[in-house]
């Protein structure tokens, strides 16, 4: 002797593919179980708009992306060289006169000291310039990724909307075939 609850569980098991039960295909009462499993499966497998995640960002969320091409470095170096060609200055520290530029009249050993200090200054300036370029490249990459993700999301949203419309129409057609469907007043689409 089985209870209605036992029957229902066996029918659920049958439609889920857990166990075979021949009565599930013949009994009209099993229809509700079949419909429940079918609708729940459709909900569980329905697509959602997809936005991809960047594995590199997930792996190192705190680390900014690095420059991957050489041209920004070369451009920065060229800019510094050009800038240095335009300036002409000198200053004195104790007995030493430190100068830069073709017209500065200083002894050669003072010029060497001046150049060494100037080189250190240049290296600092170069590092600062490269940091700025690095930051700009990171911002560009972030904007590019966001644009790409937005485009992908838009495309997916449109696809999901189209699938939803198709499913709605199929459902309407199915129910219309069964004898008609109540359509709210003012509903024209």
């Amino acid at each position: 002797m089985t209870t209605p609850k036992d029957d229902e569980q066996r029918w659920f098991a049958h439609f889920l593919g857990d166990e075979e039960d021949a009565s599930a295909e013949t009994k009209s009462e099993a229809e509700a179980a079949r419909r429940t499993v079918e609708e729940l499966r459709a909900w569980a497998t329905a697509p959602v708009p997809y936005l991809s995640v960047d594995p590199a960002f997930v792996a190192h969320p705190g680390r900014p992306a690095r420059l991957r091409t050489a041209w920004p470095w070369a451009m920065a170096a060229a800019l510094i060289v050009i800038a240095l060609g335009q300036v002409n200055f000198s200053f004195q520290v104790g007995d030493a006169v430190i100068a830069w530029g073709g017209t500065a009249p200083v002894p050669s050993h003072d010029a060497a000291i001046g150049l060494a200090d100037r080189l250190a200054d240049l290296e600092r300036a170069q590092a600062e310039t490269l940091e700025l370029l690095d930051a700009m490249a990171v911002k560009t990459m972030i904007i590019e990724r966001e644009l790409r993700n937005a485009a992908i999301a838009l495309a997916h949203n449109q696809r999901v909307e189209a699938q939803t419309r198709l499913r709605d129409m199929e459902q309407l057609v199915r129910y219309s075939a069964a004898g008609g469907v109540f359509v709210p007043v003012g509903y024209n689409e």
Partner: protein
């Protein structure tokens, strides 16, 4: 990364050697499915985007603790389940929103579609929304990922028989909730 490698192979490689290419391949394989799972389990698309990121950060961080005795899917969805539990605990402390947010919630719901569903009895989304978050998670593990009851019991850390009877009980309740909608359809049809 070789497509012939299974998820278990990739996870083992990442776990043993820290191979980031293996990690990236796993992320690419599971990204979409995890996002869909989290969207439906949380009922909030935008929250799901953040949760998905948290899931993969934990996968990376705890990758070395992977136990090959478990299938990757089982081990991985324990992480997903833990992330969801943490999120739910935080949500429980916040004031409840009046509508959902995103593709499965009310905020962006298509009114045309809602009208049709109301009239012809497509009440599954409403019925599922009435389930508790843990119940939605169980339904998704079984029907979205098509995991066995044994695998689900390992993820949820519950006996297999409990998982199975809980799932059937959920189906019984959903059938009850869907029946009035089906009656509506029958009455409209005839």
């Amino acid at each position: 990364m070789d497509n012939a490698l299974t998820d278990d192979d990739l996870m083992l490689r990442f776990s043993r050697t820290g191979d980031e290419a293996a990690f990236a391949a796993l992320v690419r394989r599971w990204d979409g499915r995890v996002l869909a799972f989290l969207t439906k389990a949380a009922g909030d698309y935008h929250a799901a985007l953040d949760l998905r990121q948290e899931v993969f950060i934990r996968l990376y961080r705890y990758g070395r603790t992977y136990d090959p005795a478990y299938a990757f899917t089982t081990w991985f969805f324990r992480i997903v389940s833990n992330v969801l539990n943490t999120w739910r605990a935080k949500q429980a402390r916040l004031p409840r929103p009046t509508t959902g947010n995103g593709p499965t919630g009310g905020a962006q719901e298509n009114p045309r579609r809602s009208a049709i569903l109301r009239e012809i009895g497509g009440g599954i989304e409403k019925a599922v929304a009435e389930l508790s978050p843990k119940e939605r998670e169980l339904v998704l593990l079984r029907l979205h990922l098509e995991l066995s009851y044994r695998e689900i019991s390992e993820i949820l850390n519950e006996p297999e028989t409990t998982v199975k009877s809980r799932f059937y009980s959920i189906l019984g309740r959903l059938r009850g909730a869907l029946e009035p909608h089906a009656e509506n359809v029958r009455s409209y049809a005839g």
